[in-house]
């Protein structure tokens, strides 16, 4: 397997090309995917509040300008009937009575937004329109405040009336140490890094299957089994060589995933790479290797005891699925904070300890990280030893392929 340089190159280079390409192409194509927005001004009126003008046409112009600046095609109409049967991603209707209600002190004004189901651009357009509406709403609040202040003869700061409470945000790590926004961002990045382990299990399980079942199929295994190689050395040798190839594939996959996030971020002017510190990279490599070992340790006993290639494949698939679930939920869930009844079943699996280890390193708790690293290693080692004990030449020889 190691001799096959082409295979090695493919498994290591392909993710490095494909994943960043996915990120960049989706970003690029998104920019060139044109959305259509229809705006209907049913109100077509204006009013003065004090010296300030409130106008439905003003609001419409602001929305149109903002949408066009983001490459949307905007069609403006006076009546719904003008745009019958025309496709749109988003429709904005400034309802009749908008200005009258907006300048009133007892009513609220309405703008209706209709999104087309399944349209990606509808969400983008909606966000832009909502921003413009929020800005115009704030403008109306300010002029209303000034108007009322003028009438009452009070000296008023609009900010004091409209935003009387300001929030000052501070951050602290779970260990009780003051944390910076950079550290908070790194903790998000750690989730992505842990999630990237999702790509590690499949190649490593495929390689160990090839190493044992494949060798049996290629009719080279039986002769080796009759040699003086101890079963422990035979199995652990296979695990070691497989895990090293898996490590190359796993690291490539992970770098590919990181590039998937980094390149688009660079396009938006955010340098995510600056947050990828050496400790995060090192802990990721450790995480990749332990995840590979764990996968091999979990799949080996099943493969050895399986009566056929198919049942061994079914078990492999189940283990890949379990690993994927854990690496995926770590994007959204802090496993250590779950209720004990839910948390401890997760801790049976070495994958959970890998995820928690990465989290602890990023959050500045190296002792806890070391504990989880040790548990993951101990679980994997115990399973590997169990595999050696379970190994049966007869089962392998008579395995149905």
């Amino acid at each position: 397997m190691v001799r096959d340089i082409r295979t090695l190159l493919v498994i290591s280079l392909l993710p490095l090309i494909i994943m960043p390409l996915m990120g960049l192409s989706s970003l690029y194509l998104q920019q060139y995917q044109q959305g259509v927005v229809v705006i209907i001004d049913e109100d077509r009126s204006w009013a003065l509040l004090g010296n300030h003008n409130v106008s439905s046409r003003d609001l419409m112009t602001k929305i149109v300008d903002a949408l066009r600046a983001s490459n949307f095609i905007v069609r403006v109409a006076m009546n719904i009937g003008d745009l019958k049967n025309e496709y749109y991603d988003l429709k904005v209707v400034i309802l009749k009575g908008f200005v009258k209600n907006a300048t009133s002190f007892t009513k609220v004004a309405h703008v209706k937004i209709i999104r087309t189901v399944g349209s990606v651009k509808a969400y983008d357009a909606d966000r832009i329109v909502q921003n413009e509406l929020a800005a115009y709403s704030k403008y109306i609040s300010q002029i209303k405040t000034l108007y009322l202040a003028d009438k009452s003869g009070l000296k008023v700061s609009t900010e004091s009336v409209l935003t009387p409470i300001k929030v000052i945000i501070g951050m602290i790590s779970p260990e009780g140490v003051a944390a910076s926004p950079t550290e908070e961002f790194r903790s998000y990045l750690a989730r992505i890094v842990a999630f990237s382990l999702i790509f590690v299990t499949t190649p490593s399980i495929a390689y160990i299957t090839d190493s044992i079942i494949g060798e049996k199929e290629r009719k080279t295994f039986e002769a080796v089994l009759a040699t003086p190689i101890p079963r422990q050395a035979l199995l652990l040798g296979k695990v070691l060589s497989t895990s090293l190839v898996g490590l190359i594939a796993g690291i490539s996959d992970a770098i590919g995933l990181i590039l998937f996030f980094v390149l688009p971020s660079l396009a938006y002017g955010i340098n995510v790479l600056a947050y990828l510190t050496a400790d995060l990279v090192i802990i990721h490599i450790v995480g990749v290797y332990i995840s590979i070992l764990a996968s091999l340790a979990l799949v080996l006993p099943a493969m050895i005891r399986a009566g056929s290639y198919r049942s061994s494949q079914a078990v492999s698939l189940a283990i890949i699925s379990i690993a994927s679930i854990i690496f995926f939920i770590c994007l959204y869930v802090d496993i250590p904070n779950l209720l004990p009844l839910i948390k401890y079943p997760f801790y049976i699996l070495p994958y959970t300890h890998v995820v928690v280890m990465i989290r602890n390193i990023v959050l500045g708790a190296p002792i806890k990280a070391l504990i989880h690293l040790s548990v993951a290693l101990a679980e994997s080692a115990a399973l590997l030893m169990f595999s050696v004990k379970m190994f049966s030449d007869e089962r392998i020889i008579y395995l149905k392929t």
């Binding site: 009719k219 039986e222 002769a223 003086p228 190689i229 020889i397 008579y398």
Partner: protein, 246 residues
């Protein structure tokens, strides 16, 4: 007389199917012993038990003075085994295939190279051919390397399961010559299975006829032909099997 292999009333079942129904045989040290019988007679199962790969259900098995399955790790140090249809590592060259197995038996690199060189000599392939990947070999060339890697380890007991099965006449003759020359020069005990009567007659000092999981007869090929009043071994086998057919 010391025995290299001793089997007494060995039985083996796979599920409900009885593969061996009580095999008893003794192989003398230094002899070439043939196990002959039709497909499904129990030859491969018997050889796998002797090669420590399959555990028997009942009976007694002693190989080179060690009892199986108890002492299988010890036995493995002194035997080499060529399974039926054994293949080479296709991505390795012929030389690398020999070296790979040599490294298992040798204590150091130098010894491994010497064993592989012996293997190359036994195989009789040119140095150019040895440099080619095994995937480019004909079936005959691949089998010559496979047999050579089994013989080169200088094990006390060599087990060959159908070494010429599926080969053309020329390749089969070549392999038989390799085995014959090796047996003469190193005086190793060899157990060889086959359903080719001519082959065992040519190679073996003694043979055991196996049929439906039982040994029908054990003797020299000449005696078996003589005592059954047959023209050849094939006829002798049919006469003997007829008596045992269930």
């Amino acid at each position: 007389m010391r025995y290299a292999v001793e089997l007494y009333n060995v039985k083996k079942k796979f599920g409900k199917i009885a593969a061996l129904k009580g095999i008893t045989l003794k192989v003398h040290e230094g002899e070439v012993f043939g196990l002959i019988g039709p497909n499904g007679a129990g030859k491969t199962t018997t050889l796998r038990i002797i090669a420590t790969l399959v555990k028997h259900d009942e009976g007694y098995v002693n190989v080179l003075g060690y009892e199986l399955p108890k002492d299988k790790e010890k036995v493995r140090k002194f035997i080499s085994y060529l399974p039926e249809e054994a293949s080479l590592y296709h991505r390795l060259t012929g030389w690398e295939n020999l070296l790979y197995f040599a490294m298992i038996y040798a204590e150091n690199k130098d010894q491994a190279h010497k064993l592989a060189e012996l293997g190359a000599k036994i195989a009789g392939l040119s140095s150019d051919a040895l440099k080619r990947r095994a995937s480019e070999y004909s079936k005959g060339m691949a089998r010559r390397i496979a047999v050579a890697r089994t013989l080169m380890s200088r094990s006390k007991l060599v087990i060959l399961d159908e070494p010429t099965s599926g080969l053309d006449v020329f390749s089969a003759v070549r392999i038989r010559e390799m085995i014959k020359n090796f047996a003469k020069s190193l005086k190793t005990t060899i157990i060889i299975s086959s359903h080719n009567m001519l082959e065992v007659q040519y190679l073996c000092d003694r043979i055991a006829l196996i049929h439906e999981g039982r040994i029908v007869a054990t003797d020299t090929p000449e005696n078996l032909v003589k005592y059954t009043n047959s023209a050849n071994l094939e006829e002798a086998f049919i006469k003997l099997v007829g008596d045992y057919h269930e």
